[in-house]
Symmetry: C2
Subunit: 214 residues, 2 copies
């Protein structure tokens, strides 16, 4: 695996496309536990993400304590109620009917932070775009997500949260910024289309709509 540059054949390329097509934001989980060795492997994959200046700013917190998890659930429920209040009429009804997190069922809670205080990388690449540090941690999330799906696991990114409260409730260092809170486990269903599209919240546009030339 590491002795010489790999070649990726058409069969792999096609399967990789399939992986991207079937990755989903999962909110419906089976209760089956996740093998700790698999979780560790997925975190190692996450840590292979690009990082600005080789800063590796990602910090992974496995949230195992029931009391801490309950605080995150309460955090989500309050933030979600507040979000619902922003919508009116049919849109409010539709929002209220959406299941936007699988926090109670997912066997694994994983919070990903960015260590804004890290000296690693010596600031390279961050002078004019300091947000690159956060972006590095975001890529670690996506790497985890894709690798998880390749192992039959689903992940759901919960952003309907007060991030400052998550930092406090998980007792992380002051310099850590919450990037993502993930629910992870075996999905109850597999779909090729996003739940938000299936439920009529928002449709996807084709990729060509997003491409321009200059």
């Amino acid at each position: 695996m590491i002795d010489r540059p790999p070649e990726f054949d058409a069969a792999f390329q096609e399967k990789l496309t399939t992986l991207f097509l079937w990755r989903r934001d999962v909110r419906h989980f089976r209760p089956d536990p996740v093998d700790p060795d698999l979780l560790r492997h997925l975190l190692e994959i996450a840590a292979l993400a690009p990082s600005v200046g080789n800063s590796q700013p990602w910090r992974f917190v496995q949230v195992q304590d029931a009391a801490r998890r309950a605080k995150v659930v309460a955090n989500f429920e309050q933030a979600n109620a507040e979000a619902l209040a922003d919508y009116k009429g049919e849109q409010a009804k539709l929002y209220a009917a959406l299941k936007l997190a699988g926090l109670k069922e997912a066997p694994v809670h994983l919070a990903i932070f960015c260590d804004e205080g890290t000296a690693q990388g010596h600031g390279l690449g961050r002078r004019t775009m300091p947000e690159m540090l956060d972006y590095s941690a975001v890529m670690a999330v996506y790497g985890f997500w894709l690798a998880a799906r390749a192992h039959g696991l689903g992940a759901g990114w919960v952003s309907i949260l007060d991030p400052a409260a998550v930092c406090r409730d998980l007792d992380v260092p002051a310099a850590w910024r919450l990037i993502a809170y993930l629910c992870v486990g075996f999905p109850a269903e597999d779909h090729i289309d996003p739940e938000l599209e299936r439920r009529g919240w928002e449709h996807r546009r084709p990729a060509g709509d997003f491409i321009v030339r200059r």
Copy 2:
């Protein structure tokens, strides 16, 4: 590919790990052109990234005009000179010797923006973490990058740029925020270790260093 949920076997999982291991930030390119159909395919993969509320905020700009490319090169050279001035002694010498972008050689310049003004997604998931919109576009970058590597292409993310000047020089809508400026092409060399590590700028730490439990 789309009729029923896929299964990913151990051989695919291993090859996927190899892909993550050998993805690199590439700054040394061969001049060979990139097939436009392949580039289009990679952008379609990029657009399969997760996006908050199904907002799909990524906007892909293929920078083909020589004058615009020259402005980006000048932007980089100025920002890089300013960055160099922040370092002293041996570190300044080392920084000055690094090749931090392949803008002049890469056959493809691709700028990825986030449309901060998009109504798509109706704000879902962005109320307490508005940065989720940018993060969605970041994941599109990583999806592109991984798929590119699976097709033998390399990408390098150039963040040593004044982002406001890039927006101006590429004449994009005012609501678009620069997320990434990528050099894309066939790499002149393949490596399993990052160039910044190989050149002594910064070493990588093992994944276990980044994992905590709560």
